[in-house]
Amino acid sequence: MTDATMNAVEKPRNQWWDVWAQFKTHKGAVAGLCFLVFISLFVTIGPVLWDVDPGKLNIRNKDVRPIYMWLFDSDAKVTWSNPMGTDNLGRDIMANIMQGGRISLAVGWTAMILAVFLGTLIGVLAGYFKRLDGLLMRFTDLVLALPLLPLLLVMMLLFRDPLRAAFGPENGIFILIVTGIGITSWMQTARIVRGDVMALKEREFVLAARSIGTPARRMITRHLLPNVMSPILVSATLGLATAIITESALSFLGLGFPSDFPTWGKILFDSVDRMTAFPERVIWPGLAISLTVLAVNYIGDGLRDALDPRIRGH
């Protein structure tokens, strides 16, 4: 008797549990998530455990090879105190990669959040308010027609000095890069969100909500935004990947952070001149960028499957 009633009112499952269950079946996505967690811990907790100042010069101890070189060549200059070697000024490469990863990931996340916020805002406004639609979408088309990488380079060059003067060398460049990437990569999100909002607007539950007098603000936050969450999440992962690559590309072209301020792209750029003698200095930061972006792309792939209710549960 009691059993029967228990079964009848089965506890409603949260949809995010279903999403997680589907996400877990995508092997690449799980591997990507593991790697992203690992690299995030590596750059956040790592400097606490590996307590070496990345900027500390030690000229006597320069050009140390990574520890594994000892396996191939017993004469190689290696030391356990610098397991990944040192650069031409004796700075520890492992500490630099940790510090650089902090900056690269921080830039990636912040720029992505800014881009997704802008894209969602413009997409929702264009999709929900018919008066704004034409104007905002023409604007989106215009921005899409701009050559973005050259413009980003122009922005880097032009606003570098005033922002450095206003916010200090590191914060100024950080703000500049994050805003630059943010305002040049919101367009795809805006288009997707607009399309979804326009489709949702015709649905019965929106009509029902409107008939009881829900104001536009509540309508958007309570009824529309939760339903466009999945495409936003997927484009957020893509945004994170492109933001990390764009930041590294800017650093690689010598227009990113100042030279004593490591990011993965900057370390790579600084090492290119001497890559014949020390290929590891190019390979480690490059691998860090590539694997992080690969992990994020796989997570996006898995999320897309997991958030699609037609695929989920099969």
Partner: protein, 335 residues
Amino acid sequence: MLIYTIRRLLISIPTLLFIAFVIFMLLELAPGDPMAQMPLTIPPEVKEKMRLALGLGEPWWVRFPLWLKQFFIVEPQYWIDNAFGTNFADGAQRIISFQSRSPVFEVIAERMPQTLWVVGMSYVVGVLIALPIGIISAYRQYSVFDQAGTFVSMIGFSVPPFFSGVLLIVIFSVQLKWLPSIYDTTHAVNDWDSFVFQLRQMVMPVMVLALQTTAQVSRYMRASMLDNLGQDYVRTARAKGMSESVVVLKHVLRNSMIPVITVIALGIPSIFGGAIITEQIFKVNGLGQLLIIALQGSDIPMVMTITFLLAVLIVMMNLIADVLYGILDPRIRYD
């Protein structure tokens, strides 16, 4: 269709004008001074005269229409004069680079062949690799080949060109010593040996750029093939007893190519953007490198012109993609 094309062409004029205005104003806000590189011993009044000589004395509402006039009227006139020996331009002022003091379009014309060779080659190679990968991946969905293709395209999306390029240099130039790491643009092809050398120096930059193209186009090709393979007309074709190769390569492929061709057209501008980085790695003195040098030297007319040319390319490719889509797919009606 013709009316649609004409309408789109007309719309693209204000779009391009607006883009030109945005780029111009961005450069106008520049605190970077083209005089910053000059020696400090030059007296201020001479510096002021030099600024005037560069045309920086006038306000922007004079200089912007002037630039437009030079770009859209004077430069084509010079081009026609050169081609047919006429004299339309009549010595009118061209767009002059601040750095080299020579007309911007002459410098661009010098740099264009290198970029076109590397970028164009890589795009052709990338597309040629991508199409078979996409077709086979879709035909044998979830096979080992499909999984491998997915993985390769994921890598193409994830590995930035400045890393794949550097990695290729480390492997093929430094370790194996097979290929030169620097692209020699003065090299002239006149016999078989020099042709082989040209091929060898093009391999790496082309492959780096082609990887990006391949990743993107093969994904689209696969998705488009999968869409079409499940259609009823495929079953009909098979039921009529057509051979599998005819079904796939004639019926399905032709229909699947429609969206892919537009993607190929839309990708052309972005590959020019990617060339900025690749040219920097392999030291190709093409357009991308010219842009970087001009940026660093605050060479405003040069930056303005190159960026605007890229914008023209984007707008034109968008237009071509839309028109092609309408021509190739008779179900699409624009009117």
